[in-house]
Amino acid sequence: MDSILQKEYTVVQDDYVNAGKVSSDIKTTLAEIGISPKILRKIAVASYESEINLIIHAYGGKVYLDVSDDGYISLVFKDPGPGIPDLEKALTPGWSTASEKARGMGFGAGMGLPNIQRVSDEFDIESSPQGTTLKLGFRAAV
């Protein structure tokens, strides 16, 4: 299993103007290497929800995209805090601590993480006050 594509992005806290640009680039990049529209859409949705979480809940963060030659697509979202105190609650549909500002932008339904979990083939989340790491995996034919 060799990596055929790697990309790294930076997401800035409270940057509503650029929110979604990273996921848009990920979608375009994966479309270019021939990922099917159906899988592309799942990846784009998961990526966008995760990107928004970095902007509205975390102190920004990094996004790592990795595609291996067997068609496995890995997306990692890593932030430096403040962490999620209760992961079980965070994964419950409807649970949200989103600010008024985030809600004004259309977020805060408490649907992000449950939806990310639903669309991804692999989902792993670890969190402490030092930061949250969300690892997602998707199987695609390339």
């Binding site: 509503y16 103007v17 929110a19 979604g20 996921s23 848009s24 979608k27 529209p37 859409r41 784009a44 949705v45 990526s47 966008y48 929800e49 928004i52 932008m105 259309g106 977020f107 805060g108 339904a109 408490g110 649907m111 992000g112 449950p114 939806n115 639903r118």
Partner: protein, 120 residues
């Protein structure tokens, strides 16, 4: 139902260019929300025939449609997109209309004409 018929029923005016091809395309499903995560969670297929009806008028509405491959948005309550967002909609190939109707009235009119929700 054709996009132009939907525009007619909702008395909706185009915000982006009136594209004849899209206006003659068939749209069979409506999803109405101001919460983008709801749209991202609920619109799981039929995206090419789905209209997004929303009162949320900003770049995140467009980004949401982009991720979902939804190409047709109607903004309710007379909301308008800023020029910068119109530019973005154009680049994304998303057709945007605006109606003065409230969300309730817009949904009611389409429902009355037999347009289905996302479950068909």
């Amino acid at each position: 139902m054709l996009a132009k018929e939907i525009a007619d029923i909702l008395c909706a005016a185009p915000l982006t260019e009136w594209d004849e091809k899209i206006m003659n395309q068939d749209y069979r499903n409506v999803f109405a929300t101001d919460l983008m995560s709801d749209a991202l969670a609920m619109i799981q297929d039929n995206e090419e025939s789905t209209v997004l009806l929303t009162g949320l008028c900003n770049s995140q509405t467009l980004r949401t449609a982009e991720m979902l491959d939804v190409r047709f948005i109607v903004f309710v309550r007379g909301k308008y997109l800023q020029d910068i967002d119109l530019e973005m909609a154009k680049n994304m190939d998303i057709t945007c209309l605006a109606t003065d109707l409230t969300m309730y009235d817009a949904c009611g009119r389409l429902y009355q004409k037999g347009v289905a929700g996302i479950y068909g």
